[in-house]
Amino acid sequence: MPASSDTALLIEHLDVRFGKHEDEVHAVRDVSLSVRRGESFGLVGESGSGKSTVLRAIAGLARDWTGRISVDGDDLGPKRTKAFYETVQMVFQDPYGSLHPRHTVDRTLSEPGRIHEVENIDERVNELLRDVGLGPEFRFRYPHQLSGGQRQRVAIARALMLEPKILLLDEPTSALDVSVQAEILNLLQRLKAEHKLTYVLVSHDLSVIAHMCDRMAVMNAGRVVEEMTVDQLRRAEPSHNYTRQLLKASLGYDRAAVDALETFD
């Protein structure tokens, strides 16, 4: 995969390991991907498939990785620089866990601004709140005063504080009710268009990936088993058995299909 000028994110031969010696877990095995600028790229797989670990390696949260990760043509080293976080930001799965319970929305949103010496933080906070569909009345609230959907909006606003180009979204709606999920997915699509963002979206839910993304990679046991466009998925033409099984299972319960399930390792 050559890194052309419209490649926002390039990953080559990424391996991530946790633990040492006999406890070692080889979470990601030889993963290569490239995400174009302005694209929404989906990573789908079951728990333990390594999909979140790929995101965490990009964000610098999983340290023991080898291979190549490059953002906007620049290869990343073991440490993430300030400039990196101005380009790449992450939104986590659990809005109940990712916001500091004793920080107000105002403090949560302005903190990245202060670290990166953003000017007019005050104005930016109001702008961000408006952007994610929360009014200025939410500014001095604490997380416990917000619903799950509102918390996720705050987490998205925080990620946008530094005007990044790439957002890493780790199961951003899996902790939410379906009606709230719809609101957050709509918000993410609007923000993507308005701010010309690139998304890498991790989910176990094929329908969320199909709705949000242009292309996707299916992961199982640390490896990418298949890469395809969402159109190919829609036409139900995955070539790998694992993907076909995942697609079938996500369409609903079918007693006859259960007996035909295979285990892939």
Binding site: S47, H204, V208, L233, Y253, V258
Partner: protein, 287 residues
């Protein structure tokens, strides 16, 4: 049709707080026969509290009121705490949502399941052990011997969920209340676990109350669906006809789902109507 396994009429669950009384369940009536009944709703709709009320698990200051709560000829409202215990776990079992909080952390998995069996039967320890291993295998646990001796913190969330299901199914209940039993599982494992429950319903005539927020799953898995909103039943229908649902809340929920098979430019979001809370609920009994 003969009398249903469970008949509930006019059930309400209330929690008095300092400022007001929270009405978690408001005057609902439903029945469960030897079938799979799905109870669908969003968080706070009262679906979990309904299941807990049937099992007599609402503790003071919570208040449970009903005109009728009958299980296989027994009046549940008249039971003493002691009598309830002979039914709970034995004839009506409940799989809770979160294995992390529902398994005893200082007891091995095997002992917990075997205990569930021994409490309700006169089985010996070795017999209970054997049944437990069989049950673990039935819920698709690959290495039952190892899991038998493991503590809850040593197993994954999905495995914990299957252990809970094994524990609840081992006394052979007549009615299983499953509260989001598969939401922590991967789709393929989810399908396998559902198939086990499905077979118990079709082969042994168990009744199932399946509490879930997943509309697609309920539509494809259950026989009947009850839709709850703000503590009331707003609609009930055959699961196969869920896509033809009439109530604006149900329609709104269905429309907000992203789809694999076709692109939707923008998901429709739900506009909640205050009137839904005041309109009378629907009776979901089949007698």
């Amino acid at each position: 049709m003969s009398a249903p396994l469970l008949e509930v009429e006019g059930l309400s669950v209330r929690f008095p707080t300092r400022n007001r009384v929270v009405e978690a369940v408001r005057n609902i009536s439903f029945s469960v026969g030897r079938e799979k009944v799905g109870i669908v709703g969003e968080s706070g709709s009262g679906k979990t509290m309904t299941g807990r009320a049937v099992l007599g698990l609402i503790r003071p200051p919570g208040i449970v009121e009903a005109r009728k709560m009958q299980f296989d000829g027994t009046d549940l409202l008249a039971l003493s705490e002691r009598e309830y215990r002979s039914i709970r776990g034995n004839r009506i079992a409940m799989v809770m949502q979160d294995p992390k909080f529902s398994l005893n952390p200082v007891m091995t998995v095997g002992r917990q399941i075997a205990e569930a069996y021994q409490v309700h039967t006169a089985a010996s320890r070795s017999e209970a052990r054997l049944r437990t291993l069989e049950m673990l295998e039935a819920v698709r646990i690959r290495d039952p011997e190892r899991v038998f001796g493991a503590y809850p913190h040593e197993v994954s969330g999905g495995m914990g969920q299957r252990i809970m299901i094994a524990m609840m199914l081992i006394p052979d209940p007549d009615l299983l209340i499953a509260d989001e039993p598969t939401s922590a599982l991967d789709v393929t494992v989810q399908m396998q676990v559902l198939a086990i429950v499905d077979d118990l319903v079709s082969q042994r005539g168990m009744g199932l109350m399946f509490v879930s927020h997943d509309l697609n799953l309920v539509a494809s898995f259950c026989d009947r669906v009850i839709i709850m909103y703000a503590g009331q039943i707003v609609e009930t229908c055959k699961a196969s006809e869920l896509h033809k649902a009439q109530h604006p809340y149900t329609r709104g929920l269905l429309a907000s789902l992203p789809r694999v098979d076709q692109p939707i430019p923008r998901l429709s979001t739900l506009t909640r109507d205050e009137a839904w809370k005041t309109e009378p609920g629907v009776d979901a009994r089949i007698l």
